[in-house]
């Protein structure tokens, strides 16, 4: 994989926080941001599936991104949000909610600010990361949300952020 090529993932990203790390979501994937609401738990689903909510008459599932990334659960605060994203799964579009600690801002990240995800060795998956966006002093982990939600529990993400 060549690191010199300009990454073509440049564009607008919605950034949000999970713990200390900042992540980015392609803005075109984001349908809306809603405050935390009561979530109906669904039995016999993976632990990171928090349950389902009623999004204006449509029942959508909600994924706890912390649990998905095997991070310690956090207290719910005023800032806890559900970002509704539109993902593609098996050729169909479907809305899914993801729970994040805090929504930050919409950032313009140009292609040359994005570096490919560093490789962490074969045991660590990194193909759900579009790249690392360097904005000012900070590094945002730009997520390929389709892959994140399609995969099972992802164990490496917390470490990835530290290494970056």
């Amino acid at each position: 994989m060549s690191k010199n090529e300009t990454n073509n993932n440049g564009g607008k990203y919605l950034t949000f926080a999970l713990g200390k790390e900042e992540y980015g979501l392609e803005i075109l994937k984001v349908r809306e941001i809603i405050g935390y609401m009561d979530i109906t738990t669904v039995p016999r689903t993976p632990s990171y599936v928090k349950g389902v909510i009623n999004l204006r008459g449509q029942v959508i599932s909600v994924v706890d991104l912390r649990a998905k990334f095997a991070m310690a659960p956090a207290e719910r605060t005023e800032q806890t949000c559900i970002i509704v994203v539109e993902i593609r799964s098996a050729g169909r579009k479907l809305n899914t909610g993801i729970i994040v600690d805090r929504v930050s801002e919409v950032l313009d990240v140009s292609g040359d600010q994005i570096e490919d995800a560093p490789e962490f060795g074969s045991s660590v998956e990194s193909d759900f990361i579009l790249g690392m966006g360097k904005v000012g002093e900070s590094v945002k982990i730009l997520l390929d949300i389709d892959r994140v939600l399609a995969a099972g529990e992802i164990t490496a993400a917390a470490g990835v952020a530290a290494a970056a």
């Binding site: 109906t40 039995p43 016999r44 689903t45 008459g57 029942v59 959508i60 599932s61 799964s89 479907l94």
Partner: protein, 737 residues
């Protein structure tokens, strides 16, 4: 600078030109008619475009000249269609150029001149092909129609569909299905009332429209079939052909074949490519051709080519040629003025209806559902405000009324009349009766009864089974009926009506009734029932729903293989419906199906387990009790049991199945709900019963897929989601664990 022509005006001119076209110029073949229309339109376009100073118009002009000259001689249907398509495209391009005067004119013009070149090449080809055929004067149409008839059995090879045509083909598939149904209805009506010429016209129009559009879209198989059927119908509507049962059968077979062809087109219209050929089509065309000659062609023997030639001559004796020319092309031209024929021809009939995708409709219903919830929440909040002004509360109740009306209205949009399904039955009864040599009169009542679209679709198959059974096994042959003092003609009545929140469909026959003794004997022989078991009439009748139990003495190819009734029961139950049988020996049977009006709404009991609320479908609940300690017992290694009226029923703790923390661990403090699924029963331990509610079923987000033990989610009155419990699923979960 190019002047902006008034395109609407161009179209108007076209129509007048169509009508004034000299009939002699138009050959009997529809395609020729189409070409004339195109030629006329092309001419108008060229006139309009003169001021536009388009070099390409000159080319089009010469194409038009050639077209006008060769139009009379064009006999090859495939070439005609290809020509039609290219010309239409050329015209559209010209129109486009004239409309957006400077945008990308150069590119469009290049395309256009390429197409014109193609067109001319094709015209030359056509002219050459047409050369050997004598073309002058009144003889021309006759020659054409004979030639066509002769080749009716040979279908031009289907070309891959043009990608520009695909959307049109898709539309055609949708519309043709409607035409086929109309034609079928007309045919059955005609059979009852052979004098009804309006019915013949209805059938004719169906095939005619299909033929026209198929020609435009280059669907050779569809076109050939429609053309052959149309020929027969045309003779019939001019009174030159008796509508015998053989003709009816052949036309019905054509309707079936047409339906299959359209079905085959479905996937092609999405992906492109060549539609699969339909086996047996040539044979059918031969039969149709035979009908047109007044011959009886056996269904299995295809016409030999050598025989076909003299027959063709006979055809021109039966049909004076100028008669056909006067009726057919005039209709053709009126209906197909442009490439948009598929939409245009139907637009007039459907102007009061709007087609809406189900997706949009569902979105509307969802949104209205949310409105109802939001409205009720606001109304709830208002109750707390003592100082709410009178005006506010009056407006609030007004809003509430409107909201409820809106909800009813949106739900009613999913409703369709059951007539379509009933229509199928009349066809079925007719076929079965003919095959079995019986006389059966089918009476349909309540065709206009409306129910949910999905229910209508799902109920079709079970109804087919039951009506077929009634016709094949229920109603006796005429001689047997006469012996038992019944009228010669048997009657099957199909009834639909609303009762409470349900739709009831009854299938009533005046046949011999169910033979209790034989059902019982068979059931005992198959080990379904123990010998000497005491059974009520109802219980015995229910046995017919058992897989592998058929009481027909002989297995016919219509029914009697012992599948069917068990499938019927399964399907009806999948729709949350019930089915009942009453039967009197010698007098007949009544099968009653009760269905919910819609699949989208269920009556549910909201229950609470720990912090979670669930919904139990009312239909699966028997009763609920607070168990006394002496009713409860534990079987080592087998779980818990609850004694209900002397019977032990397994007790499942919902909180264990769903892994939630219950309010009460002690079973005698909580409640049990006794639920059943067919012959299985169990007790579910719950904390509280919150009440009954009508809820809208929603799928649990596609990402979650099928969650075991639940059949979906529902939005409760407070806007929160709650899971709907799937009783058989829960039983399976526990039993497999």
């Amino acid at each position: 600078m190019i002047c902006q022509p008034n395109i609407t005006e161009v179209r108007c001119v076209n129509f007048t030109q169509n009508e004034s076209a000299r009939p002699g110029d138009i050959a009997a073949d529809l395609h020729i008619g189409q070409l004339q229309v195109i030629a006329a339109r092309l001419s108008t376009l060229i006139e309009t475009g003169v001021g536009a100073d388009l070099a390409v118009l000159g080319d089009l002009h010469s194409a038009y000249d050639q077209l006008r000259m060769d139009g009379k001689t064009l006999v090859d249907a495939t070439k005609c269609q290809a020509l039609t398509a290219v010309t239409l495209m050329g015209m559209q391009k010209v129109e486009q150029v004239l409309l957006n005067d400077c945008n990308d004119v150069a590119g469009t013009l290049t395309n256009l001149s390429n197409e014109v070149a193609d067109l001319q090449a094709m015209l030359t080809g056509v002219a050459r092909a047409a050369d050997p055929i004598p073309t002058v004067g009144a003889a021309a149409p006759e020659a054409v129609s004979d030639h066509d008839g002769d080749h009716a059995v040979q279908i031009a090879e289907q070309q891959p569909l043009n990608e520009f045509d695909l959307p049109l083909v898709r539309e055609f598939v949708a519309e043709a299905t409607g035409h086929i149904e109309t034609a079928e209805a007309g045919l059955l009506q005609l059979e009852e009332d052979p004098e009804n010429t309006e019915s013949i016209n209805t059938i004719f129009r169906g095939f005619h429209t299909i033929k026209g559009v198929a020609g435009f879209l280059n669907l050779t198989q569809v076109g050939a079939l429609a053309h052959a059927a149309e020929n027969v119908l045309d003779l019939a509507r001019q009174g030159k052909l008796q509508f015998t049962s053989n003709v009816t059968d052949t036309i019905l077979a054509s309707i079936d074949a047409m339906r299959k062809l359209i079905e085959l087109l479905g996937p092609v219209s999405v992906a492109g490519g060549i539609p699969a050929p339909l086996p047996g089509l040539e044979n059918l065309l031969a039969r149709l051709h035979g009908c047109a000659q007044g011959d009886v062609v056996p269904a299995t023997a295809p016409i030999a080519k050598s025989e076909a030639a003299p027959v063709a001559t006979a055809a021109s004796n039966v049909v004076p040629a100028n008669e056909t020319t006067s009726t057919e092309p005039s209709a053709a031209i009126g209906e197909h003025p442009a490439a948009t024929a598929a939409t245009g021809a139907h637009a007039a009939a459907a102007e009061t209806n709007v087609k809406v995708s189900t997706e949009r409709l569902d979105a509307l219903i969802n949104t209205v559902g949310e409105l109802v919830i939001a409205q009720s929440m606001v109304a709830q909040d208002m109750v707390g405000h003592m100082n709410a002004s009178q005006r506010l509360s009056r407006n609030m109740s007004h809003l509430g009324k409107i909201t409820r009306e809106l909800q009813e209205l949106s739900m009613s949009m999913r409703m369709v009349p059951i007539a379509g399904v009933f229509q199928k039955m009349s066809r079925l009864v007719r076929d079965v009766a003919r095959k079995a040599g019986k006389e059966i009169n089918l009476v349909l009542t309540g065709k206009e009864t409306e129910l949910d679209r999905n229910v209508v679709e799902a109920i079709s198959d079970p109804l087919v089974h039951m009506v077929r059974n009634a016709a094949d096994h229920g109603v006796e042959p005429a001689d047997v009926r006469l012996q038992t003092g019944k009228p010669r003609q048997g009657t099957i009545e199909l009834k639909a009506y609303h009762q409470g929140g349900n739709v009831v469909i009854e299938i009533i026959d005046d046949g011999k009734g169910l033979d209790k003794a034989r059902i019982l004997k068979k059931a005992i022989a198959n080990g379904i029932v123990a010998e000497g078991a005491e059974m009520s009439d109802q219980d015995i009748f229910k046995l017919v729903f058992h897989a592998g139990l058929s009481t027909a003495e002989k297995i016919t190819d219509i029914s009697g293989r012992g599948v069917g009734m068990d499938v019927v029961k399964k399907n009806v139950e999948a729709l949350r419906g019930r089915i009942e049988i009453t039967s009197t020996p010698g007098k007949g049977s009544v099968f009653t199906i009760r269905l919910p009006l819609t699949l989208a709404v269920i009556d549910g009991l909201v229950i609470k387990v720990g912090p979670e609320r669930y919904i139990l479908p009312i239909t699966s609940i028997e009763q609920s009790i607070r168990p006394k300690p002496e009713q409860l017992s534990t079987v080592q290694g087998r779980g818990e049991l609850c004694l209900i009226r002397g019977q032990t029923v397994p007790l499942y703790r919902l909180h264990k199945i769903f892994n939630v923390k219950p309010k009460f661990e002690n079973a005698s403090e909580s409640l049990v709900v006794i639920v059943q699924d067919n012959d299985r029963r169990c007790c579910l331990l719950v904390d509280e019963l919150l009440g009954q509610e009508q809820v809208v079923i929603k799928s649990l987000g596609e990402s979650l897929g099928n969650v075991p033990g639940t059949s979906g989610g529902a939005i409760l009155g407070d806007g929160n989601v709650s899971l709907i419990l799937d009783v058989p699923g829960i039983m399976d979960l526990v039993e497999k664990a």
